[in-house]
Symmetry: C2
Subunit: 738 residues, 2 copies
């Protein structure tokens, strides 16, 4: 319902700083199956395992690499203990927090296994068990002479059939993902563990040390780890949460590196990067730079101001909005970083130059293939331009959908009701029977985050922005709000309704809607998902009425997008084929939330003129940043340990201190959060949790000089667990002496 | 009258950052005569000249090294062209600025020799021509069994006799300086060039780029250079400014290094460091940390606020107070840096441990020498403690004396009148006939900096602080102000006088004093220096009356200080003798504004955790810092040149850009500003202009890890002169192709 953990690791295309010894970042989010072809490079960079072993999903280490949905993680014990980032368990901490017990602030440690807490609705662990190339099944299903819409629909249907067949045996979640912009398709089979429990997360003052100030920044001192455990039924099968469930025993689990990590050491990350745009056109980058990012930044700034005002007036709301607020401010900084780097580094201009070079090279050829590619390039440009006419309207509606929970629930319920009337295979992706539990869990999760005042203010905000667009197809929804604003206060006696004279008619309409709607209540939201199309169309609930009024436009937008996707899926692979032919290096597909491996080395990078960023920070730096005020409020126990208990095996002799965070040349992005960082022998030596600010634009065009990934070192994690948080039970389970 | 260019290069004693390859700074401000003994070390560090050559004042390069009084400089042409820092010519720029022509902001370039501007009253160039050891003359003059006061007076008299004899031939300025805390004395003979002219200074937006924000900081991008020229009479003798004077021809002048400078290269600085306290006790450091620096910081913050308020209300005052304001804010940052580093790095504790170790080692011995040294240590501690009883009162009076110009002139005039009644050899140092011109020049210089409103507000400020001390010996002065404040508005009809009810009686007294005093006028200030003691005692000018009222206390403080100096001069050398005996390394004397040489290498240093400061910044960094708003408002011509004209020979191939500032391990401090930075063959490769923030406490206890000196590179200077400021005439004179 809202973008989860929007951290994106990318790159700034700044002009080369001619420093003496520059390490270049390592571009490439490789499919496991591509690694054997890179064996020589991997060995040269320092890998001490056979490259073929890294391609084997059933072998160590990939069999221990798992996904949480929005984040990555890995198994670290035979009893299903999994390690991921602190910022990946926000929902679980929020779900288990009460007015008396703020787990986000205090962290949590289950002293016994019985104390492990269910991570809440929607929490999942996915283990990728099989990846099958299904390109011919999918593309072969497209009828000769299909229109773009027909093309889209044929792919959708083929995909759903493959998924249905794959999931038939039960206990697995399948997905067909497209690679190389629709040139290839793979069927991904994942075991879906539904009972996930919170085992240990450090206090916010360790796990989110530095907060928004340090987010995306280097030098960094964040203890961004947490532990979950996978539970299954006593028979060993995935099952919903139950007290009778037992720990899952994974095929393998990661070993921990004991030795010190050093500058230049080989590292790799296996995880689930969310999305990159490495093969997009310069024109698309320019649109992002000139339109989308500035618009996003302005909108997120406004939304954060709304959330802050609500939290300031109502302390109980603060915890409830914190996860959404973190996501917004993280994504805001990301978009600002994108803009900074686009503007400073000329990434857009470089991409445009690349496109022009490609065109010139194709135009110089007379063969049919080149002519076809050139035509595809032109058509792609035109297709993308057509989508821009309604771009602002669609973007505003999209953001309103993520942000305004009550409306989001109502819209989902109505869309679901419409789809439910169809046979399952004809239903839209995401609304098939296999998706219903997920939808229900997402709605259930609002119980710990829904704040009426925030929701109402955000609807007011978006309603006014939509009104300002003056688009006739928005009239049904806006007129409904106006009608509510003009009517005398109706309904359920909450009093806060439509007082004439307080704000304009739209504002009064929004207040009236929230005064009257039932959707501020968790049970009401959940039961709405069971309502039929007719029930919803006849509902007098103003938020439901608003969702129904918006539906025709949302459906039209969806249809248009499908047609465009059909065209793009036809055109992009042709352009990419031309790129591929002209490229000398191996090509990897854009990130798409599927399992990838990226490799490189521990390395610093050039900072501002006169500054070199070293690849390690230390516990001493945690103390040096400490001010006592959030987000630089290290706990006393940690400060004491820094002063008195920095010792082996966690203390690095080279640094003279416990290493905290480190940099690598790895190519990662959002979704990689929580990924295991593995050493040359595949042992866990850290957790990927961020990219540097300068790396952001690398999501679009990779900058090899300044792109760095940021990891928390296993040494810091284990040292805090031993010396500060005293998680003895877990250290024993990890086989770590303490 | 006020501290000039208080830049002090020193060091923070922070805990060692265990970085992989640490370059340690090079402690030692060596007397030229000490260098031959260090020949081996010098050669090992990279010196390519015979060490003995560096000890010869008549040989290259030392014969080209000169002093401006508060700053260092060097001759760079046969026609007396001298290069120094931009921040060393503030007085000259201020003196030649008018309401229409702000040279501080715009800089100045004399397109022809005729355009070279007199640098104003008090401007001097000193060339050290002889250094003679006179220890036995001075110490031999102390009578057997002398009291501490008698000891002080005997040294004073012997010193004055030596100076008188030295200066008898004329054209030279002599001084006896004490070394090793009074264990040794040397007679310094200097040619004194009195006609100094401003040749070229870049715009403030180059010469003071980064302003207070960047002051003491790294990375740095300041073009801190300027050019003066020495003029003498047509016969070649030093003479006061006259249009008939001709350029001076120095014995030698520095050659310019043409090749690129690199990380690790040998560099040395020859100049006139002002003062260090390397052999002070831990207790003295603790007093500075706990009392003096916090007091200074509070006071300077208040004074800056006063100056800013005055400048905000009166734009014409802004230029007039700018030099004093720069000095204050520079010294404020220095004192804050001292405190930061004292507190963070435990320098005081280390010094106290060193003292304790010294005591323990002496206490373990039974010989007479050790017993005498131990007794001297105890007596030193006691003597220092006695001085603290009146410390705050004395400090407040001292700061009032520097800051309040009108009162300073009146106090100087009265002290001078008292001394003038004595035979010349009995007059206090600084008030002998040889000093009268200097005094007059200092007073004359106020013409371009005096601002009545600022002066009045500062007197008001200090009067209230003194009043708060409740010290009975301040009563005569404070009562006088109260009397003025209680009387009806008197005098000269300026109207702004003592309106009853506007402020307290002291405030009204201060306003009344400034309403009535003649000393707001430059001629009146100058003529006051000719007044007799009786004239002054009978003056009705309220500021003169205030000076006379303060005189007995000031004299008593002076007498006490002299007695204490006598004791310290007896005790410190004994303690230092013990230190010397226990030390394995050669010992150098504290800086005392005499010619010194320090050597080391170009080197970066460890910044905050995770950061390494590189030893060079580049022109690209100037552009990157540019915001268009002072102090980051690089001129368009510079920005254009950065974008288009970075080229050889100034562009460093290693950096891929023109180097701007660089770091070295050299041991420097205030007074070194403007010093020539020389390469391994004694060629000019830069100008020393600052120390890093972390180095400040090194004035007390040297920190070898983080102490760095900051230089502007000759490459940047010549590149700007060629590509931006087009100072073709000077480039020709320097023999630089352009």
């Amino acid at each position: 319902m809202r973008p989860r953990h929007l951290r994106l690791a990318t790159t700034v295309a700044l002009p080369l700083l001619a420093a003496s010894a520059q390490t270049r970042a390592d571009e490439g989010m490789w499919l496991p199956e591509q690694l054997p072809a890179l064996a020589e490079t991997l060995a040269a960079r320092g890998l001490e395992l056979p490259a073929a072993q890294l391609a084997d999903l059933d072998a160590y280490p990939l069999s221990a690499i798992i996904s949480l949905g929005g984040c990555s993680a890995s198994f670290v014990s035979d009893d299903g203990l999994a390690v991921t980032n602190h910022h990946c368990v926000g929902d679980a901490l929020q779900h288990n927090s009460t007015e008396e017990r703020n787990l986000i602030e205090d962290g949590y440690y289950a002293a016994t296994r019985a104390d492990e807490l269910w991570a809440g609705p929607g929490s999942r662990i996915y283990v990728t068990t099989r990846i099958t190339d299904v390109t011919s099944d999918v593309l072969g299903a497209i009828p000769e002479g299909a229109s773009d819409v027909e093309r889209f629909e044929a792919i959708e249907l083929a995909t759903k059939e493959l998924v249905t067949a794959c999931e038939a045996p039960g206990g697995v979640r399948c997905e067909v993902a497209d690679f190389f912009a629709g040139a290839e398709f793979r069927l991904l089979e994942r075991m879906e563990i539904q009972d996930v429990r919170l085992v240990y997360a450090p206090a916010e003052s360790i796990g989110f040390y530095g907060g928004d100030d340090d987010n995306w920044m280097w030098p960094r001192h964040t203890g961004d780890w947490s532990f979950l455990r996978a539970y299954v039924s006593p028979s060993g099968a995935p099952a919903p949460y139950s007290p009778d469930n037992v720990p899952y025993h994974p095929a393998t689990h990661l070993e921990l590196r004991q030795e010190d990590l050093e500058d230049g050491d080989f590292v790799m990350v296996a995880g689930y990067p969310g999305g990159t745009y490495r093969y997009r056109t310069g024109a698309e980058m320019a649109w992002a730079r000139d339109v989308t990012y500035p618009w996003n930044i302005a909108t997120m700034t406004d939304l954060i101001a709304i959330l802050d005002a609500v939290a300031a007036a109502d302390p109980a709301a603060e915890v409830r909005v914190s996860d959404f607020r973190f996501g917004l401010s993280n994504y805001l900084k990301n978009n600002e970083g994108m803009l900074d780097s686009f503007r400073a580094g000329g990434a857009v201009e470089r991409a445009q130059a690349r496109d022009a070079a490609l065109r010139a090279s194709l135009a110089a050829r007379t063969d049919d293939e080149a002519r076809a590619w050139l035509a595809a390039t032109d058509e792609l440009t035109q297709t993308l331009e057509e989508g821009r006419e309604t771009d602002e309207r669609d973007r505003t509606l999209g953001w309103m959908g993520w942000s305004v929970d009550a409306l989001s629930v109502a819209s989902t319920a109505y869309w679901l009701a419409v789809e439910r009337e169809k046979p399952d295979l004809e239903r839209d992706s995401g609304y098939q029977e296999r998706d219903w539990t997920r939808i229900r869990e997402r709605v259930a999760r609002l119980e710990t985050s829904f704040v009426t005042e925030a929701d109402s203010r955000m609807l007011d905000y978006f309603a006014h922005r939509l009104d300002g667009l003056g688009e006739p197809d928005l009239a049904p929804a806006l007129d409904l709000l106006r009608e509510l604003g003009a009517a005398p206060a109706s309904g359920r006696g909450r009093g806060a309704g439509a007082d004439a004279g307080d704000g304009d008619v739209l504002a009064r309409g929004v207040r009236a809607a929230y005064a009257a709607t039932l959707l501020t209540d968790s049970d009401a939201r959940l039961s709405l998902l069971d309502a039929s199309r007719v029930d919803l169309e006849q509902s007098r609930d103003p938020i439901v009425r608003l969702a129904v009024a918006l539906y025709p436009l949302r459906r039209a937008i969806d249809d248009e997008a499908n047609a465009r996707d059909g065209a793009l899926g036809r055109l992009r692979p042709q352009v990419l084929a031309a790129v591929r032919e002209l490229s000398t290096a191996p090509i990897y597909p854009d990130a798409n939330s599927t399992l990838r491996v990226t490799f490189g080395n521990v390395a610093g990078y050039p900072g501002p003129d006169g500054v070199w960023y070293l690849p390690f920070t230390t516990a001493n730096g945690v103390a040096a940043k400490h001010t006592g005020v959030f987000p630089f409020d290290a706990p006393d126990a940690l400060l004491d340990a820094i002063a008195n208990d920095q010792r082996g095996p966690w203390l690095s002799p080279g640094l003279g201190a416990v290493p905290v965070n480190f940099l690598s040349t790895l190519d990662t992005t959002g979704g990689n959060s929580g990924s295991a960082t593995l050493d040359s022998r595949g042992r866990l030596c850290g957790l990927l949790f961020d990219g540097n600010y300068e790396s952001m634009a690398s999501d679009w065009l990779f900058d090899p000089v300044r792109t760095r990934s940021i990891h928390v070192s296993t040494a810091y994690m284990l040292w805090v667990m031993s010396e500060v948080d005293h998680t003895d039970r877990l250290l024993d389970e990890l086989g770590v002496a303490h």
